[in-house]
Amino acid sequence: MNINTGFRRWSALAVIGGMFMTGGAQAQSGTPECIAPAKPGGGYDLTCRLAAQGLQETGLIDQQMMVRYMPGGIGAVAYNHVIGVRPDDANLIVAASTGAAVNLALGKFGEYGVDDVRWLGALGADYGAIVVGADAPWQNLDELMQDLKSEPGEIVFGSGGTIGSQDWMKAALTAKAAGIKPKSLRYVAFEGGGAALAALLGDHIDVFTGDLAELKPRLADGDVRVLAALSEERVGGPFADIPTAKEQGYDVQWPIWRGYYVGPEVSDADYQAWVDKLKKLADSPKFAELRAARGLFPMARFGDSFDDYVKEQVGEFKALADEVGLTQ
């Protein structure tokens, strides 16, 4: 089931002539492909396009990388497709993110687990952020945490995802850091971070646990205050003034990595070839521009180190899910 590609160079005549002889449409067997396990336009689409455009513009691949959409099952459809149908396809990579790791931890990908694919590497990351309105009473994270400790039911949290989603995890971890059970939070799930941000601006919620990149336009307007970035250390650029949660004494970190995996039966040589390509890509200055244009911060973890990272992360999420009673 290949998808044809470089057809534009064929003339119309060749197509007509070739139609019944060769079946016309056909793919060169080496066409690299990236599956975005979602509808067009979301974060996975962005992840695939980052790799496609980067690899193409830096000349690391000679053919254009195809981006294919395979929505369904919050990524489970693509996961099952790769393992079940194309486990040894060396030309196929699939976009993944922290959200996929959360879903794997919660067992939402069906029979398959984190060990059933080979994790390639991550090309960029965004970080969680704890955001309040510009007129909110809290000037820093500690003030919020103190209030949260004394009256957890009075502060309304909101973000762009359901219970158990990566957006919710940020609120849950924040609560945990304040010594509050995630269950006893007051939390509202919106359809996407944009809607949650709008609710914060309209004073319908008190605290928004979102991502840094999407806040950029709001920071300039000054309608929100970011109490903490959930990164290991401060990120630069327009966010340089935002302290991390860690430096304020609460060790909450939430990187949202954007990376890729390949099928379980891809050979070591092919796996290594992809790892090398991604490594080279991450080092090129051109790629840094592309990544920044998509609002992502640098993150470079490849090969076995990334594979270990994802597995460890899934383990942590599992423990957290058990703790708050999400798994049955």
Partner: protein, 149 residues
């Protein structure tokens, strides 16, 4: 016979309402931040649906014109064609599958064989060029043919 269609619909919808309610009852939630949870809405809908279906059962409207005879066969033919199109869309590849389907559909809609065959080839080719060349859309390839040669 004259008022059967709405009655059948009423019974089907009543069944659907019961099914929805039964399924909703089985939903298990670890915890929920809102007092309603995921069950309330489907349950409410199933009650509404049941009430409406009962109204429909007791006060059915007029029966529409239902297809019969050859037309039923033709309708099934169109559906079958579309189903086959879906099945061979990726395995056969876009061009042959489309040419075939256009041929069959044209025939079902009353085109003579010659016209149907010509339009099959032309529509398949024309749409193929339009999609791939002008719009840059990916279409399934015909790998099996290359395998043959």
């Amino acid at each position: 016979m004259n008022i059967a269609a709405d009655r059948i619909l009423g019974i089907v919808l009543l069944g659907l309402a019961a099914f929805v309610a039964a399924q909703a009852m089985q939903l298990h939630v670890p915890f929920s931040y809102d007092p309603l949870g995921p069950k309330a809405f489907p349950l409410g809908l199933s009650v509404l649906l049941a009430v409406f279906s009962l109204v429909l059962l007791f006060r059915p409207g007029t029966n529409g014109d239902w297809p019969r005879g050859v037309l039923v066969l033709k309708l099934l033919g169109v559906l079958l064609t579309l189903l086959v199109y879906a099945l061979v869309f990726t395995s056969l590849g876009y061009l042959p599958a489309t040419a075939l389907v256009v041929l069959v559909l044209s025939r079902l809609f009353g085109a003579p064989w010659a016209k149907a065959a010509i339009s099959g080839v032309l529509v398949a080719l024309g749409s193929y060029l339009l999609f791939t060349q002008a719009m840059g859309i990916l279409l399934p390839a015909s790998d099996w043919l290359t395998a043959l040669t």
